[in-house]
């Protein structure tokens, strides 16, 4: 093996032409590569570079909007204002107590076959005092997406139906006996607590439980319109 000599080897860092910057413009750290002969006739290199970007942008721009619309298709659905039968009031044995009514709702989602989902609603047969706490002297109106009134819950009707969705972050709450507060609606997720009138007693919920349009037939059949409201807002914003 011949002896190795350092001066026989260079790294790219060491290829330097001293005082080059005195003769042509060089930015410190810039790497200069000899220009191939064929390239020497090509003018306007910066123009071609910018033109490449413009063409790329022109390809991207017209497909951005169709892609966005494509993905947004199912986001907004019309409200369903059908009355659903959820059970009979004979299930309610005591006044001012939350009773869970479980029911099945038919769901038809775009191309999928129609299927049933289990949902629940809480119904309270209210004493006049509790009714006053729910309605505070005013009938409650419900509107469709255009803002027209589709139903009014009269303040004298003793049956109140609460959506099963907790207004805090959308969990499902239960009727429980609380050590200090007595019988309450309690959400196991983030521990929001509501009284039988739906008002917040404790926990992080921003508003009272959402009362739904409810009507009770002469035979005691309870019907509701299955509405859902956005969780986490002070105001009620209907989303379903």
């Amino acid at each position: 093996m011949p002896p190795f000599k350092r001066e026989d080897y260079v790294t790219t860092h060491e290829v330097e032409i001293s005082h080059l910057e005195d003769h042509i413009h060089v930015t410190p750290g810039e790497v200069l590569v000899p220009l191939p002969d064929l390239e020497k006739n090509v003018k306007r290199r910066t123009f071609f570079m910018n033109f490449t970007h413009v063409i790329g942008f022109l390809i991207g721009l017209p497909i951005a909007y169709p892609i966005l619309r494509y993905l947004m298709k199912p986001m907004y659905a019309a409200f369903d204002n059908q009355w659903l039968n959820v059970g009979n009031v004979s299930q309610i044995k005591k006044e001012d107590v939350g009773v869970q009514f479980e029911y099945k709702k038919k769901v038809k989602e775009v191309y999928m076959p129609e299927y049933e989902v289990e949902k629940n609603v809480w119904v309270v047969r209210a004493t006049p005092e509790l009714l006053e706490k729910v309605y505070q002297g005013k009938d409650e109106e419900f509107r469709d997406s255009k803002g027209t009134v589709i139903w009014t819950n009269k303040k004298e009707i003793p049956y109140v139906a609460f959506s099963g969705k907790c207004p805090h972050l959308g969990c499902a709450y239960k009727w429980r006996n609380h050590k200090a507060l007595g019988p309450v609606f309690l959400c196991p997720c983030h521990l929001s607590i509501y009284d039988a009138a739906g008002n917040v007693l404790d926990g992080p919920a921003p508003r009272a439980l959402d009362a739904l349009p409810v009507r009770v037939s002469a035979g005691g059949e309870v019907e509701i319109i299955d509405m859902e409201f956005k969780a986490g807002t002070k105001a009620q914003v209907r989303i379903v």
Binding site: M112, K119, G170, P204, I239
Partner: protein, 375 residues
């Protein structure tokens, strides 16, 4: 690699074997040996350490998640009428399906644990400081991807646990001012979780996130090699240079031992704590008390606090707190310009790290204790 072996032609009377000739053929065209030398002969300043194993382990966990995830897709069907049944089929009928699903499930937990360990190591070693700011930023993006992986994968079995974690998780995103409603509907593909949500989470989980993770992990490694490893935070330049080692063999050996530990750990969890589905997803949870995966429990408990009550409180807890935390992590290498890397000379950094870890442990324990009071 011994340099003598790399050039068999210089040894007289040596007839190269078929394999050596094949390697030489490929090497001539691909530059295998140079590539191997680049990969293995990476100098580790100050020598190999057990503390450096987490990056390699994460790569290993991801590879295993990709393998087990691909295998799960042979039977899994991402529709609301078949997701639950196909997952049950994997668990109960397919040979070793329970094991592969269990491995994938516990692998995700291992991923989160190792990401936190990796980030902690980088933070405590001050390795995010100049010139490694971009490495840290890409790492944060990877952290976000890992969390999103966990969140989207959670929905796929379509059981009660899946449904409620998604319902609440998306409601949290909904609290973002101005764009929250759009984001939530965009993710769910409608006002409530359903088929569109499952489709979207599925595409995110098996296509978009893996592609993003591979691209960013590649960039992460590239930036790591450009900046070179940070090395220990104490010792003089001469001491560190004297102990400097190549990646192969000592660090690779430690990494392999770490991977083996993680592999055995995940297998053990898959064996002893196999995945059991709850009832099929429905907007009526029955007796089930919704709860997120264990690594989100501290945050779940945090949102129960009084200061996060009401509309503004919810914005604070659901949006502002995580956003500020992430923004601080992003800004960290840019405001912490002190070149001191020794963690024992950076009291604020040390105290912050301890405080965050203690907070996570305390709130996790609190949420577990709270379970008892719910029934």
């Amino acid at each position: 690699m011994d340099s003598k072996h790399s050039s068999p032609a210089t040894i007289p009377d040596h007839q190269p074997s078929a394999i050596e000739r094949l390697v030489a053929f490929l090497d001539e065209r691909v530059g295998l040996k140079e590539m191997q030398a680049k990969m293995l002969n990476e100098p580790i300043p100050g020598g190999s350490r057990w503390a450096y194993v987490f990056g390699s382990i994460l790569l290993f966990i991801f590879a295993m998640q990709a393998v087990t995830g691909t295998l799960l897709m042979f039977y899994y069907v991402p529709t609301t009428d078949h997701a639950y049944d196909s997952t049950q089929y994997i668990i109960h009928d397919v040979d070793y399906g329970w094991f592969l699903l269990g491995y994938h499930f516990w692998g995700s937990s291992a991923m989160v644990v190792c990401v936190v360990a990796h980030m902690s190591q980088v933070f405590l070693w001050g390795a995010y400081k100049k010139p490694r700011e971009l490495l840290w930023l890409v790492g944060l993006a990877l952290f976000g991807i890992v969390i999103t992986f966990g969140f989207t994968g959670y929905l796929l079995p379509w059981d009660q646990r899946a449904f409620w974690a998604t319902t609440v998780g998306v409601e949290i995103l909904d609290k973002t001012p101005v764009v929250g409603d759009f984001i939530a509907r965009f993710l769910k593909g409608g006002p409530t979780p359903g088929q569109m949500t499952l489709s979207r989470f599925f595409v995110l989980h098996v296509m978009i996130l893996p592609a993003a993770l591979m691209a960013l992990a590649g960039l992460h490694l590239f930036l790591f090699r450009v900046a070179a490893p940070a090395g220990p935070f104490s010792g003089t330049k001469e001491e560190i240079r004297a102990k400097t080692d190549y990646f192969f063999p000592r660090q690779i050996w430690k990494d392999m031992v770490g991977m083996a530990f993680v592999f055995v750990g995940i297998c053990a969890l898959a064996l002893w704590e196999p995945v059991v589905l709850l009832d099929q997803a429905a907007p009526d949870p029955g007796d089930y008390h919704p709860e997120p995966e264990w690594y989100f429990l501290f945050y779940f408990q945090l949102l129960r606090l009084k200061i996060f009550a009401g509309e503004f409180g919810q914005f604070l807890g659901a949006v502002a707190l995580p956003a500020v935390f992430m923004a601080l992590l992003v800004a960290l290498p840019f405001f912490d310009k002190d070149p001191e890397r020794n963690i024992f000379k950076r009291p604020i950094a040390l105290i912050s790290w301890i405080a965050i870890m203690v907070m996570i442990v305390l709130f996790t324990v609190a949420s577990v204790i709270n379970r008892e009071f719910l029934d």
